[in-house]
Symmetry: C2
Subunit: 330 residues, 2 copies
DNA sequence: ATGAAAGCGCTAACAC
DNA sequence: GTGTTAGCGCTTTCAT
């Protein structure tokens, strides 16, 4: 392990001067600089980022907390975030919480202790009070969850409730009366908001919510398939199902195919997110666009402004409206 | 920012004792321990991981370098890696190189400077000599690339050449004579190895390789679609196309549909990887299974053994054979 | 244009 | 059972 002290000694200068040729923060005589650069090359010196971060009180790192990396929605979000960060010299560090509440909390705590410069929360469980303590201690968050609304935290949202209303209204317009929904544990916030929209749209149409028509699918394809089976094995089964994400909708399609049901003739299915697979399945999935890349990028931009002290005010709110995408499954 | 010194002062003990109640590395009187724990709680003290890492010379972090996080193959790999690491108290930190050679090199350098305990390389460009210097300086790598074969580096491989041979032989058995291939820049290693297998299988059948039947698709869906168009707009177009990954195969299917070609009647298509989307598209994609999750998990296990000094010997080689998956597209 | 020295927050000899 | 002290490798005041 070669350190800045080794370089300094070999070049016959002080650590200070070596540090300054590295950072360029103060002029160094051309001859000295060259000599130092040569020694750095010879010794293969690489500054220790840990030491630097400890001293400078910044890491150039941002953590992205997300529930499921294998749900294509999140990689796309990560891409957007990364695109905003990399060109500014920051790195994103992905934490996959596996949809687990404890792991989510543990990852946030870990990121804070690792002194990341900022945290982007695309979380399922965390609520405002869970992050409040961190914020008081100076942590910088950007929220991608409507469950975290804090006066000092920037937030990107896309009105999940409205998206659910759009989808449900469409089903109603098609003449469906018995409409099921596949969501998730109500503790998981995006699901509960989409459920709220679903219920609102039913109310508009004077249809009362029937909780035997709600099933939990954990936001995964397999979970969606199971939930669909539960819904369809009921005596008076729904003629249409709104799923809180595309992955569950694809799972629901799996089950429908297995049961020999035609989509959308026997049962209509609508998803949420518009991941790439939505236009790959057959029939193509009708869904609600939830622009992951743009959200990630916006999150990165807001975060950087704060991290660099360019913005210090109250929490901003970037709103990206959902859009209904009519395809073939409904 | 509350430090261990603050806790020590307030509890009326030395930093050492506080440190030891944190780590449990030496007995502390029950009364003292309780008092300290209470102060930690009161002050909301969280140890600074940077300082700890600097001192302990380990970070409990592993970097995963990968080309494209939006290619579902890699999230699955990341999942496997994470599953191997998390339960052992390590964290994985994902670096998306965007398929760019410079970025790949930059990320590796960055991970090294950040003092990650180990690096898993699922890279496209890096070759043995590129990592050799790091290894000499004590860095620990696991290679998921057949381009990195180093006597001190553990490697997970699945014989891309053999996989390509399986796919190509199948097309030949189906009677195809003009078979195209969609790959990528030959600098990108997995593509060149799969090309090698492709050529070998043709040779076996005494068919000479026609380089107008090879097109580059950059491992993306859009790139695959473009490459397919190039192949199919030729006068004497192929009746079957082998694609170096599923994403490009799906792109090729997009183009075939656009051109009004039926799959597999007018043109047969085979992919590589068996990502989830392969069984989602219509017709379902015939492909070669490249078990991402298992590879990630194996990588994590090998890496941890080295990181913890449980294994110090020469580079091991875990071999996961490819498997041909017959579906509908060929 | 350059250096000496303090210190970021922690751990671990080495005392007692 | 507990404390003193010396660093981990770097940046940055304050001098000269």
């Amino acid at each position: 392990m070669v350190t800045i002290a080794d370089v300094a000694e070999r070049a016959g200068v002080s650590k200070t001067t070596v540090s300054h040729v590295l950072s360029g923060k103060r002029p160094v005589a051309a001859a000295t600089r060259e000599r130092i650069e040569q020694v750095i090359e010879e010794l293969g010196f690489r500054p220790n980022a840990l030491a630097r971060s400890l001293r400078m009180q910044r890491t150039q790192m941002v953590a992205l907390i997300l529930p499921d990396i294998t749900n294509p929605y999140y990689p796309m979000l990560a891409r957007g975030l990364q695109d905003a960060l990399v060109e500014e010299g920051y790195h994103a560090f992905l934490c996959n919480t596996d949809g687990d509440k404890e792991q989510e909390a543990a990852f946030i705590a870990d990121a804070v202790q690792r002194k990341v410069d900022g945290i982007v929360l695309a979380s399922l469980y965390s609520r405002t009070q869970d992050v409040d303590e961190y914020i008081k201690n100076g942590a910088i968050f950007v929220s991608l969850s409507s469950a975290i609304v804090h006066p000092e935290v920037d937030r990107i949202s896309s009105d999940n409730e409205q998206g659910a209303i759009l989808a449900t209204r469409y089903l109603l317009e098609c003449g469906h009366q018995r409409i099921g929904m596949i969501g998730s544990s109500l503790e998981q916030h995006p699901s509960s908001t989409r459920l709220k929209g679903f219920r609102k749209a039913l109310e508009e149409a004077s249809i009362s919510f029937d909780d035997t028509l709600f099933a939990q699918g954990d936001f995964t394809r397999a979970g969606g398939a199971r939930a669909m089976r539960k819904l369809m094995e009921q005596p008076d089964r729904p003629t249409a199902v709104f799923c809180a994400n595309d992955l569950m909708a694809i799972g629901a399609m799996d089950t429908a195919h297995e049961l020999g049901l035609r989509i959308p003739e026997n049962v209509a299915i609508i998803g949420y997110d518009d991941i790439e697979a939505a236009s790959l399945v057959s029939p193509k999935l009708t869904t609600v666009l939830n622009p992951a890349y743009e959200k990630g990028k916006a999150a990165g931009q807001l975060l950087l402004e704060r991290v660099r002290g360019k913005y210090k005010g109250p929490g901003r709110h970037v709103f990206i409206p959902p859009r209904f995408i009519k395809r073939e499954s409904a």
